[in-house]
Every structure is written in C-alpha cells, then in structure tokens.
Symmetry: C2
Subunit: 362 residues, 2 copies
C-alpha cells in the first residue's frame, strides 16, 4: 500500500485529507521570534521537541541559537540521538531496570545528557546505574504551582540535591520547573530560596530552568532562571490564540479536511475525527476552529467524523466536497498521530518530513 | 534505536510502560460471545476493525463466523486488502479524485468491496469512476437518530437508491445506519418504511446493516436488519462497563503504567499521558479507571503525565515505581497510538502484533 504523501510542488488543495500542513514561513518566524526574545533577555533556549518530533525542525531551532533540546521520554531522546543531537535534557523521572539500562547506553553515546528527578526513589535508581567513569547530570524538579511533578519545598529540593551530590555517578546540574500559567512570581521565589539553601551547603546551581509556551514572553519576569523550555510556540494552536500568545498569522499548523456529508442544512460532517484532530479540549467546548466559516462549530468528534453545527453561521457555509482548514485546539497531540508531516509555502508543498519520534512514549 | 517490544514468555511486570496489553482469553471469549449471539438471531456479523487495526485479530473474527470486515477509510481497507481480506465494507462517503482512484484500484483487486453514500454528490463521483466491467456495490447511509451522516428520510433514501440503480458502474446493495444508543425502534421503523418505498419501484434491498457495540446485545430488536457491525466489543472499555454492556471480566485491554512521581500524599503521577490513554472522555470527567485502587481518580492528563488524585482512596495507595493497570475510557483510540500491541495469557506475553492500520485516516 502506498501512502498518500504528496511530492514537493503539489498544490495543497490536491492532497489527501485529513492532513496537517505546516506553513514554512510562519514556522521560521515563530522560531526566530522566540529565540530573539530569549537572546535579548540573556536566557538560553532549550526547545521541547514533543510538539513536532521531527529532527529537521529541531535542527532549525538549534541553527537559530537553541543550546540543545528537551525530551520527555528515553525513547524520544534515542530518536534524536540517532539523528545526531548531542545535548538532550529528559524532563522525566526515569524508573525501572529496563529504562535505566537504556538511559545509561544513551549517556554513553551523546555529549551532554541530563535528566530530572523529584524523589529519593528515582535518584537511588540513577545512583545505582551510573558511575564516575561516565556520570549523569541530574536536575531536581520543583513544583512551583503547576501541581504535576516536583518537590513541594526548597528544603526538599536541597535534600535531593545533597543525595545527588553524594552519588559518585551523578552530577547535580541545577533545578527545573514547569510552572502554572502566570506563575512567574512563584517560580522566582522558589528558585531564590532554593539557591540560598544550596549556597549554605556550598552546592552550586548552574542551571535554573523554567518553561512553557503559554507564558513564553513572560520568561524575563523570572530573573533568576537561566534557561527556558517550550514546544507549542513553534506551531502555535487555538489555545495559544485564545490566550493572546500569538496572532492568527502565527498559526503554522492547519489540518486540511474535506466535507464528506451534509445531512441537513445546519449539519456538516468533516473527515477529520478524533484520530486526526484528537479529542483534546484544553478548556474549549468544541474541537477546533473552522477557518473562513464564522460561527461554524465542531460540536463532536467520533473517530473518523467531525460533526459541525452550522446553525450559527453568519456567512458562507461549506458544501459537500469542499476542502476546509481546521486550527486544532492542541498541535502537539496532532503531530503524534501522523507518520509524516506536510510542509508548504504559500499553498505549495515544499517537503514531507517523517515524524521520527511519533509514538515514542516509553 | 530498538523499540521495547517484549518477547513471548516475558512477564507483564517486566515490560516497558506505558503499554496497552491484550488478554488473549478475554479477547477470544468476546469474539465468541458476540458471534454466537448474532448467529442465534440469524444476523450476519461484520466486525469493525478500527478497534484493533490488526489483520491477525480480524482473521480470528472471520474464523469465528464473521462474513467480512468493516473499515472507515480507503487506506485502512488497503492495509486489510494487502493482508488478504476479500470482503470489505467501507462505511464512508468517498469523495475527490485521489480517493476515488484508490477506491477503483481496491475494487479491482478484492472479491467483494462495498461503500456507503448519503448524498447525490458522493454517488455522482462514484458513478463517474466505476463502470459495468467492474461495478462497485453501494449502500445508502441513513440517519436513524444518531445525527452524524445519513439521509434524513426514507424518501431521500429511495431517491439515492434510484440514482445508484441508474448508474451502470454501481450496484445498489442496501441500506445502512449507525444508530443512537437505545434506537432499535427508530431503526426498525426507518428500515421498514424504506424497504416498502423501494419495493414500490421494484428495487431489492438485500442488505440492511445496523451497528454499534453499545447496543450490541439488542441487535435482535431490529428484526428487519440482516447484518450488524461493531468494533469496541472485542476489547471492551470503561464506557462499555459503565453502560452495563460488559463485566470487569470482559475487559481485554489494559494500559500498563508506572507511578513516576508522588509529590504529595494525595497526588501520584503516571507515565501514561494523553499520548498513551488519549484525552477521550466519552462522558466521564476523568481519564480511565485505575484498577485495584478504589477511589483513585485520574483527574488530568498532559502529554506524558497522568495526575491521579488519591484523596478519595479507601484502601492501598500506589507508590513510586509501582506498575499499575488502567482501564481506558475508549480502547479504539488507544490502539491508534501504538505501532504494536502486546498480547498475554495469565500475565505472560504470548505475541506482539503490528497495528498495521495505525494512522490510516485517509
């Protein structure tokens, strides 16, 4: 079976739907804008590749000035190590013999690997795996209000830092957080207090890493952070648009879809179901923005169908066979559904890239 | 990079997480139970392969007595044609030159292909593509209350049937619906009225196809239906359990996950985020059932993290490093995230199957 990947030069309106398409110029502008902002504020940039999972795109990010990349899982990092990346931070607690063994092999073959830990259990596993001949760099993950992973207090961060320092196979590299939106003040306070505690024990804390696309352009408000990590900024999506973090002209990903049915005047059905758009709501009560059809609302998804309520349309309504463009609620999860991604400039295909790390959740 | 697929004989607690695992005995029992029920009521069974997307599983379904398979997309059907399947129904409106061309090629190489249509536009496209030398069988899709695709009235179904009959390259095979839950009465009424109208024009309607796993064991209530289509029944999931359509002992898929963090006594974090469990809610307000931990609630997913609220736990609480089993809200979308699927019997891996049609949304 031959998959329907288009050749360079193909017009977008001739490709099979549903298909996510990436605007090259918007992509490049998003990369440049983000890097320029962090450069201007003296912070290093470590993009999160989970949004695209494509080595060629990560290379564009490094060429613009990023110091390395950020992955979540060992298998995701392995794909990028295979593609030649030498500075990878895995922002995840690595646990269990199988994953620790792979982590050790990864550390032996790239120049600069680091991970995070937020528990004594995780650090004990790392300490048992690594040795002084090829030590592993570890950052302590801190919960500054995001309420996901991370130690709860600067005192707990200090205790884990001391555990790392005392392990011959580990190097304490610093602290890291994924803050809640609008959390700059809490992050700054946590970093300052932790650094002060570490200083009383003579422990250096060279890296203070914060992150997130939603608050990207507030990164300068966390004065003590040295590094920022972000992913979604590169494509942007409907959630970023709603939050005012990008404009419609910064949306680099659209999902092309075809109107396959129009059972009533007020109901259209698209061929982009939850296996194309995902069912991520991110606080919305519908499943993406149908560009060019004011008032149309994607009210439900089944696996291969999107039901669009047209009753609120104030202008044109789509007809059966029309190809439409959907702005997805959340781009990062769309990338993970497709084996390849189609890029274009002004509506003409420029390249097709394999989503090399698609499905690497281990 | 080598992916962490386990060999046969591996114990489930030794495999990398997150990973969906399929219980062979429950799978076989679900197949047998469903086929036996339809056999007893004189209806043919056409399983929907979207739940598993694995040819070896579809072969088990045919061996049990299914007459053919049901796909949603041309590319999905192509994968199964490559695997030797000869009787495929694509329950989708096929539109556009690229897809029609592939559909024609598919029809030329398998024994019995059929599709559905619910508009004059779709039928016109099919009529322009196929010819009497190798005609295509078409069923008219009817909306009997499901409010997705389908004509709204028996009169509209008749009009499309006449359009199909008048096209030399098309054969009218019958009518099809995907009903709303509890919709047996409406389906029966729609079928009877449509058949009566067709009879007035001398049009035979050999296939009357209904479907759905939620109402599977009510299929006998639609006396006029000749065929049933269903997918989820084979694995079952939390939505089927809630609806009373299966018991806990019929759940054939679990997602193995590891507790990677426990930042507070009431918060655990699993390594199964939306890229493993998907964010499908299906009417729930949480993201899966954590077996063995009464009162634990998966309150949020980010891409690689599941946050579990333990405050309601009445018994044991999971600890960092523990491997747990999640019953996903919706199995069909989980299958579509993984390149391979791990099968086991009594906790020992029996086989690993490629999810051959993963990502085939075109």
């Amino acid at each position: 079976m031959s998959y329907p990947w288009p050749d360079a030069g193909t017009a977008l309106n001739a490709i099979s739907t549903p298909m996510p398409v990436i605007d090259e110029d918007r992509l490049a502008a998003n990369i440049l804008r983000a890097q320029s902002y962090l450069d201007a504020h003296g912070k290093t940039f470590r993009p999160h590749i989970k949004t695209h999972k494509i080595p060629a795109i990560a290379k564009q990010q490094l060429q613009a000035g990023a110091i390395g990349i950020n992955c979540q899982k060992v298998s995701e990092a392995e794909v990028f190590a295979d593609a030649g990346f030498e500075d990878i931070l895995i922002t995840y607690n690595i646990l269990g013999a199988a994953k620790l063994s792979r982590l050790k092999a990864l550390n032996a073959r790239i120049g600069r690997l680091s991970v995070v830990a937020d528990s004594a259990v995780t650090i004990a596993g790392l300490a048992d795996t690594f040795d002084a001949a090829r030590p592993l760099a570890v950052l302590v993950e801190c919960d500054t209000g995001g309420k996901r992973c991370g130690v709860q207090t600067p005192e707990a961060a200090l205790a884990l830092a001391e555990q790392i320092v005392s392990a011959s196979g580990l190097i304490f590299r610093g602290i890291l957080t994924y803050p809640a939106p609008g959390g700059a003040e809490m992050v700054e306070k946590f970093i300052r207090e932790t650094m002060a505690l570490l200083a009383t024990k003579g422990i250096d804390c060279p890296v203070r890493s914060s992150g997130g696309s939603p608050d990207f352009y507030s990164a300068h408000l966390v004065a003590s952070a040295t590094e920022h990590r972000a992913g979604t900024y590169i494509y942007n999506d409907r959630s970023m648009l709603r939050a005012g973090h990008c404009s419609a002209g910064d949306l680099a990903m659209h999902v092309l879809a075809t109107v396959v049915s129009k059972p009533t005047a007020d109901r259209a059905v698209l061929d982009s179901g939850s296996k194309a758009l995902t069912s991520d709501l991110l606080g919305f009560n519908d499943y993406g923005l149908l560009e060019g059809y004011e008032g149309a609302k994607i009210i439900s998804l089944s696996e291969e169908h999107a039901v669009v309520d047209l009753s609120g349309c104030t202008g044109a309504r789509p007809e059966i066979g029309d190809v439409v463009q959907v702005v997805p609620n959340h781009t990062c999860v769309v990338s993970n559904l497709f084996d390849r991604m189609v890029f274009h400039r002004n509506g003409v295909v420029t390249r097709v890239e394999q989503v090399a790390a698609r499905g690497t959740v281990w």
